[in-house]
Symmetry: C2
């Protein structure tokens, strides 16, 4: 998966590429793609420009590597929550709770790199903005797929629009990311997640009522 091993001999690297990538990731996370200059990267990574360019080609490639690393190391909770063998509602609860924690980790930048990396961008960096959008859309698609799976399994009413609910949940997570950047605590985001789950229950009940069915189960009482 990692294509960093050298094919043949030569002078060995004087630094740890993973540690350097980690430093770059945190810097991009904090300041975004375009606002992070090579001078800042140089200092944070402890490297000279030729070292950076030899190892990571250019700034754009370095950022994409940082994105992949972020996806693997910082938000594994999302994939884990959605793929776990647990009820749908519990998976969504794990997802939102995980986001509340991941967006407010001590010593880490607040919020999500997929959002902080670039929302608006210059025309030259449009490709980066598009890549980030792709990551965000993938999250939404994964949530929708999980909801569809729960609906097909009879956990959710057949009349429920999974796309609509996925868009709501993704939107809430995006909002949590911005709230985190504005100083919200883990507890604040946890409360936000709980309010969101209340909406979940209301939406599910509404969809079930509109079909006149009563086989809802997990959200029947009050």
């Amino acid at each position: 998966m990692e294509n960093l091993e050298r094919p043949r001999g030569g002078r060995p690297r004087a630094f740890d590429p993973e540690a350097a990538l980690d430093a770059a990731m945190h810097l991009f996370w904090e300041h975004g793609y375009e606002a992070t200059s090579l001078a800042m990267l140089r200092e944070a990574m402890g490297l000279t420009p030729p070292q950076i360019y030899n190892a990571f080609t250019d700034k754009e490639t370095l950022f994409r590597r940082a994105l992949a690393r972020y996806h693997d190391r910082e938000i594994g909770f999302a994939l884990d929550a959605l793929s776990a063998a647990i009820p749908t509602e519990e998976a969504i609860r794990l997802l939102l709770t995980g986001a509340a924690m991941a967006y407010t980790r001590p010593g880490k930048p607040g919020g999500c790199l997929f959002i902080s990396g670039a929302l608006a961008a210059s025309p030259q960096a449009q490709g980066i903005a598009d890549e980030l959008k792709t990551y965000r859309k993938a999250t939404e698609a994964a949530i929708a797929a999980r909801l569809a799976k729960g609906r097909d399994a009879g956990e959710l009413p057949a009349g429920l629009s999974v796309e609509r609910l996925a868009k709501y949940l993704t939107g809430v997570m995006h909002g949590m990311s911005i709230q985190a950047r504005d100083g919200a605590s883990a507890e604040d985001l946890q409360a936000l997640a709980e309010t969101t789950l209340a909406a979940w229950a209301a939406e599910v009940r509404k969809a079930a009522d509109s079909k006149g069915e009563a086989d809802v189960g997990p959200v029947a009482n009050d």
Copy 2:
């Protein structure tokens, strides 16, 4: 309020400052503060650099002017909804519906300038990022104040945490802004708003139940 009138004679301006500011606002809205270069502003505003600097001091001042103009001309719906003499729930409904429309206006950049302007920033532009955060926090505070007013008027249960609910609603609006930037339609955002209002009802009921009171009224039925 506008301090653009000259005190004494001199050569008149060859351009309309408001139209120029409008062009700058839309450009900042689309690309954000830092990613918008003076070359781009020059072309969009149809002005030479000295014209821009003479009229708006510098890029930062121009951006702050654009922010104020955006606040006055593009999101008046928010203040209107919160200050209207209508029930609290209706005010929130207007607020969210207004956001769904304002974030997807044809011919305008998607989302909200207060978010697209800068989430992450370079150390040099930290002041701009802080100013945007101030605008976002002001929105949250205005929502909280409106909720508190509704609670004090007996429209909402006394046990309701207006700060928590305000944080949720603000977060949802932020999420709507990002969804709009990712291509969501006005209908998508409207659906998101309706799901949010379902959460509203659930939260209010929960707060009322925890107090054991029944004087809720607008959300009693099912």
